[in-house]
């Protein structure tokens, strides 16, 4: 990979005019073109080869059924009346779509969704901008201590979150933000190691000459970032944004620590559903109205599935990039 990295600028030369060139190159770096290149089908299949393929397909279908069953179960359960939630039928015996209306009067789901969307948008936007600034600093400028500092960035990726859990709480407490949602997105203003790493990889794939030429034309460092690097890096921004949106949307522990003591209206969806699980649990005096939990679980999952439908490639490439280059 490193050879490819150095070869990049040299090969492209001063092809600044060809504006799609760097983007293409960057795409390549993120593995975007690999699927096509990989489609070497190899030699024609023998009859035994066909049998092998069919067996593999059968295995994959069986695995798919196992992976998808909980979704089907959840969808079915969300339409069932209280007494039938547990019956494991994938087609509800009694079809009760009113659950989807009642859940909003049973639980402050709109407020939770609003909170979660706001927090996830703030976190994803801030972390994308801050991480790309930092990544650009590491990718394009030479300064004393750069490699050591970047090593520290990578090392913080390995740091268990539990270690800083208590002091971070105390810091937010000192600042008076416990009980608000600020701690759920505040730290994203300072970048995040994983995203810094990801975006630095991306910036390094852009031809350096582009920035040299811009500098000779009198563009300052900020201009080089804002007018050249930023517009060219949309693909990596999408990856970072989607990842952070998902992780913020998912975040139960922070909500539990910072919002649990407050009013239920201030909860995020994960915390809200956790509280609903307790509320309806027969063990704690609930009526076992799990159909509402199921509806809420489906509603919290849907945005992620929609996000995945649009950003599928970004998610999978982002994950694959970490693993193969990390």
């Amino acid at each position: 990979m490193s050879a490819d990295l150095q070869a990049g600028p040299v090969q492209t030369g001063i092809a600044i005019a060809a504006s799609d060139e760097p983007e293409e190159r960057a795409d390549e770096r993120l593995g975007r073109r690999r699927p096509q290149r990989r489609r070497r089908r190899g030699p024609a299949l023998t009859p035994w080869g066909w049998v092998g393929q069919i067996v593999r397909w059968a295995l994959l279908l069986a695995c798919s059924a196992l992976f998808l069953y909980p979704f089907a179960w959840l969808l079915a359960a969300s339409f069932k009346p209280r007494g039938e939630v547990f019956d494991n039928r994938l087609i509800p015996q009694t079809f009760q779509p009113e659950n989807y209306v009642q859940v909003f009067s049973e639980l402050p789901l709109f407020a939770w969704l609003g909170n979660s969307v706001l927090i996830a948008l703030l976190a994803a936007t801030f972390v994308t901008i801050s991480s790309s600034l930092v990544a650009f600093g590491f990718a394009y400028f030479r300064f004393p201590g750069r490699n050591v500092l970047f090593g520290v960035v990578l090392a913080t990726m390995m740091l268990p979150g539990a270690v800083t859990l208590v002091p971070q709480y105390l810091i937010w407490n000192q600042l008076g933000f416990v009980g608000t949602n600020v701690p759920l997105w505040g730290a994203t203003l300072f970048g995040s190691a994983f995203y810094i790493f990801l975006q630095r990889q991306f910036f390094l794939s852009l031809p350096r000459d582009l920035f040299e030429a811009a500098r000779l034309d009198g563009l300052n460092a900020w201009g080089q970032f804002w007018r050249i690097a930023f517009p060219l890096s949309v693909p990596s921004f999408v990856i970072v944004f989607l990842f952070e949106f998902q992780s913020s949307w998912n975040n139960l522990q922070a909500a539990l620590i910072y919002l649990n003591a407050g009013s239920p209206e201030a909860y995020t969806v994960p915390l809200g559903i956790a509280s609903a699980m307790t509320k309806y649990s027969p063990a704690t005096g609930g009526q076992g109205d799990y159909q509402y939990v199921m509806v809420a679980a489906l509603i919290v999952t849907l945005p992620m599935l929609i996000l995945f439908a649009f950003g599928q490639r970004s998610f999978i490439e982002g994950i694959a990039t970490t693993g193969t280059k990390g």
Binding site: P70, L252, T324
Partner: protein
């Protein structure tokens, strides 16, 4: 870049004489400006690191040697009292052994299943992308949704999993009640979202040059030998990465255990689900014993660090990096 700008002036002294000196001065000035710009760009991270990482770690070390009172925001020095309590608390041993047990069970199963699925996907000629997408859907599902579904699926008497096992003639266990089955039930939930690990393996497998397999086949290597001598060495960096990351994650398992077993503070729950991160959370945010919790966090940090170092030492021996450059 600096060498290319300096080169002309060095090779053509008569012509570049007028320019020979100024570039040198300008370079250092430029270099300084470049350095300042670099520092400015990374300054958000530096501030965040100093406050939320390094500062927080130092703060946590200080707190671990004191009795911290949240209400008054005072920290009475405690010496080693928190660490003393840590050693004497039998629940720490329980939490640690539960966590270790979970990690030993979960990590190999995750790696094996992810690698198996990735190899299966890599071996079909059509439809790999489609199945990869399907397998990835659980990974997109918020853990709170996963937990609320599995809470019902794993129900001992009516749950779908035991019904399914019953249809196969197997008498399913009381997943959520029997202490022996609590950890396997969390492993099961984790395995449902194994696609993240699988995608990393798949990317690594796709980078294995096909001609190596053909060469091995010509040499008469069977499927097992091809896997052992070609595939495994070439994807060993991905194996290493996944083991390292999954182990660190396993030692911090929290969400699923909290949602299934520790949501409700009124009810006591079985010691079998008391994981380290759960106990730390309870000590910090239910008992507000921040000193003890900070000491716990440092113990966890040291344990994870030691395990990571051992894994890296072992990894260095077995991981094969192509082209000699690890990154």
């Amino acid at each position: 870049m600096s060498s290319t700008t300096a080169a002309p002036s060095a090779t053509a002294p008569p012509k570049g004489r007028r320019r020979a000196k100024p570039p040198r001065v300008r370079m250092t000035k430029l270099q300084r400006r470049e350095a300042i710009a670099g520092y400015l760009f990374i300054s958000p991270w530096i501030i965040g690191f100093l406050v939320f990482t390094l500062g927080a770690m130092v703060y946590s070390l200080v707190i671990s040697f004191s009795h911290y009172q949240l209400a008054t925001d005072t920290a009475r020095p405690a010496g080693l009292a928190n660490y003393q309590a840590l050693i004497e608390d039998p629940k720490i041993v329980t939490a640690l052994s539960n966590t270790l047990y979970y990690a030993v069970l979960a990590v190999p199963l995750e790696v094996a299943l992810a690698l198996g699925l990735a190899m299966l996907l890599n071996s079909v000629r059509r439809g790999a992308g489609f199945f990869r997408t399907l397998f990835y859907l659980p990974k997109m599902t918020p853990v709170v949704a996963t937990a609320s579904v599995f809470l019902l699926l794993l129900n001992g008497s009516q749950g779908a999993i035991n019904r399914g096992l019953g249809a196969l003639g197997i008498d399913g266990p009381q997943w959520l009640l029997d202490p022996a089955w609590i950890k396997p039930s969390i492993v099961l939930m984790t395995l449902w979202g194994v696609a993240g690990t699988m995608v990393i393996f798949l990317a690594a497998l796709q980078n294995v040059p096909r001609d190596l397999y053909e060469a091995a086949q010509l040499d008469g290597a069977g499927a097992w030998r091809r896997f052992w001598n070609v595939t495994l060495p070439l994807i060993s960096p991905a194996v290493f990465f996944n083991v390292l990351v999954l182990t660190i994650a396993a030692f911090q398992v929290f969400d699923q255990a909290y949602l299934l077993f520790h949501r409700d503070t009124a009810q006591g729950s079985s010691d079998a689900s008391l994981f380290y991160a759960i106990y730390l959370f309870q000590q910090a945010f239910r008992q507000f014993d921040f000193g003890f919790a900070a000491a716990m966090a440092w113990l966890l940090f040291v344990i994870i660090l030691l395990i990571s170092i051992v894994q890296m030492k072992v990894g260095n021996r077995f991981v094969h990096y192509e082209s000699g450059d690890p990154r």
